[in-house]
Amino acid sequence: MAIGVKVMKRPTSEVSYVRATLKGMALTFKHLFRAPVTMQYPEEKSTAEWSISPRWRGTHRMMTDEQGRSKCVACGLCPQICPANCIKLVPGEDEAGNRYPLIYEIDEFRCVFCGYCQEVCPEEAIHVGVHYENAEYSRDRFVYDLERLSAQTHPVSALWDPADPRGE
């Protein structure tokens, strides 16, 4: 039993338990007929109230040119800036002197989805994507290689624009 609890001098209409009960029950009864705000996720992925932000940074996507080759020129900026050190890049060079990635792998488990790789890329090749359904059956499947990164089709993330900070 608490000793010396301050007694509030509330009006009697507020301390009446039965009347407070009836008030509460009227409130819950009103909620009975209110439409649920739940989104039925696997069936609906966006509703009028909520849709995924265009600035969402999800799993990566490598852009390709018209010939289906990746746009990457293996400059090495993205592994350089990556704070999580999750990009593995081995550069190669063809007969014409064009650089291209021999190996380009992103460990999506290490990635912190900061989006620096997209920001730093001079060729607009690597992007973070607007995508979030990434379940796999094993951990190795989360190391995305160049082929897999190029095969992604989901939309890419819109970068934050300092001139338009609120995305309008």
Partner: protein, 415 residues
């Protein structure tokens, strides 16, 4: 054995099976209804995945509960641990045996079976397993034995939280049983009989007893909430303090037994509330349902079903509205509010009935009951508007000495 006795036994066995199955199915769908009601009140969908609109959810739940692992805590008293769910389950099932679920139906048969001989049944068959002469006293008596299962479950689990839950449950049920029994005495004053059949018949002649015995209804309903361990009286399973109370250590079907028992108790409580205060299986505003017949039985059964379902809905509605009481509030409400009010109500009703009988002899039942309804309105006003100023459910500060409180004068009744 005479053919009549054999016919009676046959009919009784069939009724037991039917009511048992209906109770279990009803319990299964009450769990679904509970989840739906809770979801709707919280602006959610509730179960809607298994089957059309989620209607097969109870079956999935049942299969899950049977398939789960049975655990036995180390140090548990094995015999009592296994016995306790059965002790909670059996009274719950036994109680529903005396509820009249519909109007009596005329049943006539006379046939012979090889080996067993001749079966015959003549006349009206009440739609209740046993038309006991002790009526609702049976429900009160068997209902109070249900506490054994809960107390033993709490004790035998060898778990502090379970034990506390069991102790709370037994204290709560014993406390509120007193008020519950007292709240039904005014029904006896009006009917003069404890059997459900007489109570229903009396309400068909006059008004439903919720009007002439409103305070009785209120007290019985509150005590019933406490007896069935429903919110706001669900302290025995207060999960924030006691994990899950007495059934913390139970898993698989043993847990299901407690669950079924709780919901079967709730169903019996609602059926009893219906029978005592809402005219039982009486179809309102008509009298054609009083002549026996198959159609009348079906219609009255439907009326009973709707009334009981509405009662269950109200109980769930209350559960998802009110927060749980503190333990001292629970005890104070039981002993300091419910019991004195119930006792005082008996006195007032006795005097009122006596006065009406003396001053206005020869009144018809309906007028008589309307006069009592007026008395009840006055009593309800006194209880809910004049007395209910922080007295019924009070803050703990009301228990401290006024002298220890700063500016204590005028603090009484303001908790």
């Amino acid at each position: 054995m005479t053919p009549d006795l054999k016919g009676f036994i046959l009919v009784s066995v069939i009724k037991i099976l039917v009511i048992f199955v209906i109770t279990l199915v009803g319990v299964a769908y009450m769990t679904l209804l509970e989840r739906w009601v809770s979801a709707w009140m919280q602006d959610r969908f509730g179960p809607n995945r298994v089957g059309p609109k989620g209607l097969l959810q109870p079956i999935a739940d049942g299969i899950k509960n049977i398939a789960k692992e049975e655990t036995l805590p180390g140090g548990a008293n094995k015999i009592l641990f296994i016995l306790a769910p059965a002790l909670a389950f059996m009274p719950a099932m036994m109680m529903s045996g005396v509820i009249p679920w519909a109007a009596p139906v005329p049943v006539h048969f006379d046939f012979s079976l090889p080996w067993l001989g001749r079966f015959s049944h003549e006349g009206l068959m009440p739609i209740q397993v046993a038309n006991l002469p002790i009526g609702f006293l049976w429900v009160l008596a068997i209902g109070s034995t249900g506490v054994y299962g809960i107390a033993l479950a709490g004790w035998s689990s060898n778990n502090k939280y379970s034990l506390l839950g069991g102790i709370r449950a037994s204290a709560q049920m014993v406390s509120y049983e007193v008020a519950m029994g007292m709240s039904l005495i005014p029904v006896l004053l009006l009917v003069g009989n404890v059997t459900f059949a007489a109570i229903v018949a009396s309400q068909q002649q006059g008004l439903w007893f919720i009007l002439p015995l409103f305070m009785s209804f209120f007290l019985f309903a509150v005590a019933g909430f406490a007896e069935t361990n429903r919110a706001p009286f669900d302290l025995p399973e207060a999960e924030s303090e006691l994990v899950a109370g007495y059934h913390t250590e139970y898993s698989s079907f043993k847990f299901s037994m407690f669950f079924i028992a709780e919901y079967a108790n709730l169903m019996t409580f609602c059926a009893m509330l219906t029978t005592l205060f809402f005219g039982g299986w009486d179809v309102p505003f008509t009298s054609w349902d009083q002549t026996p017949g198959l159609l009348q039985t079906i219609a009255t059964g439907l009326a009973m079903f709707l009334k009981v379902t509405f009662g269950i809905f109200v109980v769930m509605w209350v559960r998802w509205t009110l927060p749980r009481f503190r333990y001292d509030q629970l005890m104070a409400t039981g002993w300091k509010f419910m019991l004195p009010v119930a006792l005082g109500y008996i006195v007032v009703m006795t005097l009122a009935i006596f006065a009406i009988d003396r001053l206005l002899p020869g009144l018809s039942g309906r007028i008589h009951q309307l006069l009592l309804f007026g008395v009840n309105l006055g009593l309800a006003y006194i209880t809910f508007f004049l007395a209910d100023r922080g007295f019924i459910i009070s803050g703990s500060s009301r228990h401290t000495l006024p002298s220890t409180l700063e500016g204590a004068s005028g603090a009484r009744g303001q908790g």
